[in-house]
């Protein structure tokens, strides 16, 4: 039992580190790249980092709330990915470019 507890604690830390790394990579990708699709992928990576974090913390508790929550987010993310990609395709058609600078005039 003791060994299990130690493994679980280590698992939690590993998850947190992995999540932070994924999130950081996503963030860097989002800020550094100007291709809309890559930026979109980066946001997905950030999201996955958060999900990994959720799984790690779930291991501390006896319930499965964290894991099921992560599953829900996964589904929503899939839907959102469809919408986001659709939007990007539409934007591409308007400007014939995937450069985010092309939309600067929006001043958003």
């Amino acid at each position: 039992m003791m060994a299990d507890a130690a493994i679980l604690a280590a698992f939690k830390w590993h998850c947190m580190v992995l999540g932070a790394v994924l999130f950081g990579l996503g963030l860097i990708g989002f800020v550094a790249r100007r291709n809309l699709i890559v930026m979109f992928l980066s946001t997905e990576v950030m999201l996955q980092g958060v999900l990994v974090n959720l799984l790690g913390f779930n291991s501390v508790y006896p319930t499965l709330n964290g894991q099921s929550f992560a599953l829900f987010i996964l589904v929503v993310a899939a839907v959102e990915a469809a919408v986001g990609l659709g939007l990007i395709v539409f934007l591409y058609r308007l400007r014939r470019s995937l450069d985010s600078e092309a939309w600067r005039s929006m001043s958003g």
Binding site: V31, S100, W103, R104, M106
Partner: protein, 647 residues
């Protein structure tokens, strides 16, 4: 029930606008005619004294001089002979007018005009407003109906809103009415402050008792301060003030001097609307209101004198204007103003039954005249200048005949309705004050003269029609109401033979201070006014049919008088110079202050955030997505660092 039927018609038209289209007249006709039938039933069954009915408790007044459950402004109706007479007149004439409109509101190829549905919806609303005004059982509802007819008149006068003249006329009618209504509103407020209630029954009863000095009975009826009320009514000018303020409203609504100016301009609306406004609804409201509030007016000599003289002066003043007009409908409009003057004259000399009787007969023949004039206008494709008409009797026999009947009735030709009613007024005026009586007689001559001047120039003599005009008789849906109204114009006067009508309405209008009227016919006055009417007609015939040279000769001999009359005493110009221009100046000044002063301050205040925002846009918000993301990430990093440092 009665007001609801036309309202229902209106609502149906309003809701099923697109579905009904050219059939939009059906719901309104049925609604108005239904109201007429119900009024007939009420008139024929029972003695007409149904009394007050409360339908719905509307607004709690809070202040309760009465036991708690009575402290309400309620939607209540009062039905008595006076109401029933008004309802009969209003709904009967309205029904015929609405039927006539079915023919009038069409192009020559029989297609409905633009806005056909809208027209009928407004007509229904108009009749509804007038019915609720007449039926109202308290001053608040009266005021509501009062304003509603004002609104409807605005909508209908401005029916051809694409025409600037129509839009201006509608605006004028509304604004002039507002001046009067303001006084009326103040009067209603004063009534409330004095009596603590707006119900007719309470107010009238309290007035009567207070004037008798019957404090005990007043207290019995839960009046808060009987002694104070007796003092106010008996020893101060409170009643005079109330009466005069209410009369202000009547002046506006019933187009009396000095607020009559809107009525002649109201000709810009379609002719059926003119008929409705002049005959049945709207302008009669003032007369009705003064008759209804007789007990408030009668004790005050000042108020009665004002009413009588304003009526008399209006009668003669507008008759002089009508002498020199060339627009057929405008002549009729000034004659309406003049006839309304007669009614107020009658009220002022304490002959309310005569006033209501004249209102009743006038509704028939004036409605008839306007519809006939509309028929001429329709046939002539809008030409209404009597200098360009003439000899129409050959082309439009029915219109001509009915117009003749209406004209004879208006002129007071013996045995037609106008003769009976006008006669009583003149007789009552002569009894009361010789000057007023003489005014009445002179006006009668002028009325006969200008009416027949119009008839001879329109229907007889040499045709002076413009090129390409093809006058023709109108379809049956238009001539038929004309005939019915003509019948009414002939017969309506016989209701009062031996004073039947007067007895019928007077039961509710008898007030202690009004001396009982004598109901015998004054044969001397009758004969005199008959002779005068015939003289006026004969003079018109001589001057405008037999020898047109005479009319031109007179106009040339008195150029100044002619010019003044033709320009309506320059009243519009005087108002423009004395009132409208200064007011417009003040308005412009206020606008400038608002535009430069107040808006300037606001501009300065808003400059601060605008400047900040501009700086932000130049520095941070340049529109680059990555920039925003970086800012966000940095912010999170700073937050994180702060949280960690705290730990």
């Amino acid at each position: 029930m009665i007001p609801l039927l036309p309202l229902l018609g209106t609502l149906l038209v309003g809701v099923f606008l697109r579905v009904l289209r050219g059939r939009a007249h059906w719901p309104v006709i049925l609604g108005v005619a239904g109201a007429f039938v119900v009024s007939m039933v009420m008139w024929l069954t029972g003695d007409g004294d149904i009394g007050p009915r409360e339908v719905y408790r509307w607004i709690p007044t809070g202040v309760s001089a009465l036991p708690n459950d009575e402290a309400w402004f309620s939607i209540g109706f009062l039905i008595d002979p006076l109401t029933i007479v008004m309802l009969l007149t209003v709904t009967c004439v309205s029904t015929l007018v609405v039927i006539y409109s079915v023919g009038y509101m069409r192009e020559h190829d029989g297609q409905p005009e633009r806005g056909y549905e809208r027209f009928f919806a407004f007509m229904g609303l108009f009749v509804f407003s007038m019915c609720s005004l007449v039926l109202a059982g308290n001053f608040l509802l009266l005021y509501l109906g009062w304003e509603a007819v004002g609104l409807c008149s605005y909508l209908l006068i401005g029916f051809y809103y694409q025409r600037p003249a129509a839009a201006a006329a509608a605006k004028k009618a509304f604004l002039v009415n507002r001046i009067g209504d303001f006084g009326f509103g103040l009067g209603v407020l004063l009534i409330y402050f004095t009596f603590g209630s707006l119900d007719y029954s309470t107010v009238f009863e309290a007035t009567r008792l207070a004037l008798e000095g019957n404090a005990a009975e007043l207290a019995n009826r839960h009046i808060a301060n009987p002694d104070q009320l007796i003092y106010q009514l008996g020893y101060t000018h409170r009643l005079t003030w109330i009466a005069l303020l209410l009369f202000c409203g009547a002046i506006g609504k019933s187009a009396q001097l000095p607020l009559y100016v809107w009525l002649p301009d109201a000709m810009e609306g379609p002719s059926p609307v003119s008929a409705l406004i002049h005959a049945a609804t709207m302008v009669t409201a003032g007369v009705y209101m003064v008759a209804r509030c007789g007990i408030i007016f009668a004790p005050s000599d000042t108020a009665m004198t004002v009413v009588a003289w304003i009526g008399g002066l209006t009668a003669i003043f507008s008759a002089t204007i009508a002498l020199a007009q060339y627009d057929l409908k405008r002549i009729l409009a000034y004659s309406t103003v003049s006839q309304l003057g007669y009614m107020f004259l009658a009220l002022g000399v304490a002959a309310p039954a005569a006033a209501i009787f004249h209102l009743h007969t006038h509704a028939f023949f004036k409605g008839l005249l306007f519809l006939a004039a509309g028929s001429v206008m329709h046939a002539m494709a809008g030409t209404i200048d009597i200098r360009k008409l003439g000899g129409l009797s050959k082309h439009m026999p029915i219109t001509c005949m009915t117009f003749w009947i209406g004209g004879l009735a208006l002129a007071g030709f013996p045995l037609l309705s106008g003769f009976w009613s006008k006669d009583e007024i003149v007789a009552a005026a002569l009894h009361h004050n010789t000057a007023l009586g003489v005014i009445g007689l002179v006006t009668a001559v002028m009325t006969a003269f200008y009416t027949f001047r119009a008839i001879f120039m329109t229907f007889h003599g040499q045709p002076r029609l413009p090129e390409g005009a093809h006058p023709h008789e109108q379809p049956r849906v238009m001539t038929w109401p004309l005939c019915v109204l003509a019948l009414g114009a002939v017969l309506a006067g016989y209701w009062n033979i031996a004073g039947h009508f007067a007895h019928y309405v007077e039961r509710v209008m008898t007030v202690p201070h009004w001396a009982p009227e004598e109901h015998g016919h004054d044969y001397a006055v009758m004969g005199l006014s008959a002779v005068l009417a015939i003289a006026g007609i004969a003079a018109a015939w001589l001057a405008y049919n037999k020898k047109p040279a005479i009319a031109e000769g007179v106009a040339r001999a008195l150029p100044t008088a002619y010019r003044i009359l033709n320009n309506k005493w320059y009243v519009d110009e005087i108002y423009d110079a004395c009132l409208i221009r200064p007011l417009r100046g003040i308005g412009r000044l206020c606008w400038r202050i608002d535009d430069w002063g107040i808006d300037g301050i606001i501009w300065i205040v808003t400059a601060i955030p605008r400047g900040t925002a501009w700086a932000m846009q130049q520095s941070v918000q340049r529109g680059a997505l990555q920039g925003y993301a970086l800012t966000g990430a940095l912010a999170i990093a700073i937050l994180l660092a702060w949280v960690l440092a705290k730990m």
